[in-house]
């Protein structure tokens, strides 16, 4: 069953056709990668999925409901969490508070005037946050300001924040961009573990073929705003159209 259905999505920026007739279907519980050269429209597509951009035409359905015209926080409450290219975390807050916030968001919804409750008294939520941090091996860093973490730890924290909302679809935007090899491999292992352990679908936008081929079960190749092919990793590897898109016709 497909959890995310993108149908005939078009998006123009002035004279540039950023997305042209994009059709995409992400199967539930799969790891689906979207790859493509620079300027292929990967980020535009992602921004459409999370509600930051509204496409000119077409539809995007998540679990039978349209996401178009909804605000980012509403789409998130539907069950889509996003990991950014550069980790977006609450730098001034402690590591634990970073995870507490999505736990509250999951329980209380988009807004609640809980000004007379005390964070420390919310036993269940505190336990939930600590369990989440234990899962990503950050229990020893609970009270550190998030800003002081290393790049790799920030990424892990961001993933932990997204997971503590128990999303149904996790979107990752180049999760290993700018990382050292060791950190990249750690992130791959973490994502694999998450996918095995949890009832979750992962859609990943990536540049790094190593990451794509070690994680994805389906791959969609975008070029100039249009999907070229969608297939399993093994078939994509030798596909002539993909080589053409990445290396140019002359080769």
């Amino acid at each position: 069953m497909s959890i995310l259905e993108v149908k005939n999505v078009n998006k123009r920026f002035g004279g540039l056709q950023a997305l042209g007739d994009v059709n995409l279907s992400v199967q539930e519980h799969s790891v689906h990668a979207i790859i493509g050269p620079n300027g292929a429209g990967k980020s535009t597509l992602l921004n459409v999925l999370v509600g930051k951009l509204i496409p000119d035409t077409g539809s995007v359905m998540f679990d039978g409901q349209s996401v178009l015209g909804r605000k980012p926080h509403e789409i998130n409450q539907m069950g889509i969490s996003r990991v950014f290219q550069t980790p977006e975390i609450f730098g001034d807050l402690t590591v634990k508070e970073n995870v507490l916030i999505p736990c509250f968001a999951k329980r209380d919804g988009a807004f609640r005037m809980h000004a007379f409750e005390t964070v420390a008294n919310e036993k269940a939520i505190n336990e939930q946050a600590e369990a989440m941090l234990e899962d990503v091996n950050m229990l020893d860093k609970l009270d550190m300001p998030a800003e002081s973490l290393s790049r790799g730890d920030k990424r892990r924290l961001e993933i932990a924040m997204c997971l503590s909302q128990q999303p149904r679809l996790l979107l990752l935007d180049e999760p290993t961009a700018g990382m050292a090899r060791a950190d990249t491999n750690n992130t791959i292992d973490l994502l694999k573990e998450i996918h095995e352990k949890r009832d979750i679908t992962i859609a990943i936008i990536e540049h790094d073929m190593h990451v794509v081929f070690s994680l994805a079960q389906r791959i969609t190749v975008l070029a100039q705003g249009t999907p070229l092919v969608e297939d399993t990793p093994d078939n994509i590897k030798g596909h002539p159209k993909v080589r053409e898109a990445y290396l140019g016709e002359a080769h």
């Binding site: 926080h73 969490s81 807004f111 964070v119 420390a120």
Partner: protein, 412 residues
């Protein structure tokens, strides 16, 4: 106790003790001694400490937690004062009618201004709030509203005050003709002992303000420790992430703006409760700037900082401004004449009317060297003293790390 953790309860008890003992603590020098002019324990000033403390505590809920720098909070101060004086005019001099009204009316104004201003962040938000406050100042100063409805609402530049021709429908025959709470007159002192040369003044009005200030402080402490307060701090550090975490930031900022507007209205109401006047100059932009200074000087985002800042600035305004050349000559009389004149000439621009200059220099020094404000200075001294017990280390719950967002954050 009070729904607080052990450390917070202790902290609150210390604050309560200090507040109640203020008339003693601010009177460290005996009457007649040369330093007596540095005593600040007289009712008028102590009332201002408490009132502007409330103002700054409220401002800190908006600025300290969410990072939204409002430059128009004095407007709510004015609204609060007008509300209270109107209750004097219509009902009677009991402050109990006016204060709740001041909170409600300023809350409504905050909601209206917030709906427009909170659509923008950073400097644009500041400018919008400033524009609204200046509009409200001009409207009150020219009594524009009064001209529309045919009867004076703010009484223009004279300021709103109570006249004998006012209805005052609840006024009883034996009731005092000055602000009071069920007969307890605000401007009266209930005890004025002279103990071995030290004179202490225990004033009704001050204790009324102090009790309200303690409540206001307790409320802000609860907000700081609540999930709501945590969300507000999250807004300051990363709004994008908060949006993509399924939280709608607008109602959070709106709630913070309205709460801090209500605090300002309460402070304004108390100003009128101590002195039954309300003038438009209370709403001017300099008054809005003052509360920004108080908060940053004391330490934005800390619990005690804004109160310290408020006390500091009010102390300077009232005490430092009284030092004139005669006083300076008195201090340096032991020096040779030429040197004495020289020193007095040098110091002259910094005291008396020049107290703003000293405050300005002090403010610059604090912002540059103690970006966390006076609270950071205090905690650094504490760390220095306790250096041997280093293991205890940082206490981010009570002394959060601060960034110098006055100059460094991108929004500005």
């Amino acid at each position: 106790m009070f729904g607080l953790s052990k450390t917070d309860t202790r902290f609150l008890l210390i604050v309560i003790c200090l507040t109640l003992a203020t008339p003693i603590l601010l009177q460290p020098f005996p009457e007649g001694s040369g330093l007596a002019q540095f005593n600040a324990g007289y009712p008028d000033l102590m009332q201002r400490f408490a009132i502007f403390g409330i103002f700054a505590i409220g401002f800190n809920i908006l600025f300290g937690l969410t990072g939204y720098l409002s430059f128009g909070h004095a407007a709510f101060l004015g609204v609060g004062s007008y509300s209270v004086v109107w209750m004097y005019k219509l009902l009677d001099y009991n402050v109990l009618w006016g204060l709740p009204l001041a909170i409600v009316v300023s809350g409504v104004f905050a909601l209206l201004i917030g709906i427009v201003s909170l659509r923008r962040t950073g400097i644009y938000f500041s400018i919008l709030t400033l524009a609204f406050a200046q509009m409200m100042f001009v409207i009150s100063y020219s009594d524009l509203l009064g001209r529309f409805v045919g009867t004076s609402i703010t009484n223009g530049e004279t300021g709103l005050q109570v006249y004998t021709s006012d209805p005052q429908v609840l006024l009883g025959a034996t009731e005092p003709n000055v602000p009071h709470l069920f007969g307890i007159v605000m401007r009266e002192n209930f005890w004025q002992p002279n103990i071995g040369g030290w004179e202490f003044t225990f004033n009704n009005g001050y204790y009324f303000c102090a009790v309200i200030a303690i409540l206001a402080f307790y409320l802000s402490l609860r907000i700081f420790r609540s999930p709501f307060g945590m969300m507000l701090r999250a807004i300051k550090t990363n709004q994008t992430r908060l949006n993509y975490t399924g939280l709608n930031t607008r109602p959070y900022t709106m709630a913070a703006f309205v709460i801090s507007g209500m605090y300002a209205g309460l402070a304004g109401g108390l100003l009128a409760a101590m002195d039954p006047l309300a003038g438009a100059e209370r709403m001017q932009w300099t008054a809005s700037g003052e509360v920004v200074l108080m908060t940053i000087l004391g330490g934005a985002g800390t619990l005690m900082g804004p109160v310290l800042g408020a006390g500091f600035i009010k102390y300077f305004e009232n005490i430092f401004s009284k030092i004139n050349d005669n006083v300076l000559h008195g201090w340096f009389a032991w020096m040779p004449d030429g040197l004495e004149d020289f020193i007095v000439t040098i110091l002259h621009p910094f005291v008396g009317k020049g107290w703003h200059l000293t405050l300005g220099i002090l403010f610059m020094l604090v912002v540059i060297f103690l970006p966390g404000g006076l609270v950071e200075g205090g905690s650094r001294i504490m760390h220095f003293i306790k250096r041997d017990r280093k293991a205890k280390g940082r206490d981010p719950e009570h002394h959060p790390e601060h960034i110098a967002y006055v100059a460094e954050k991108e929004e500005f």
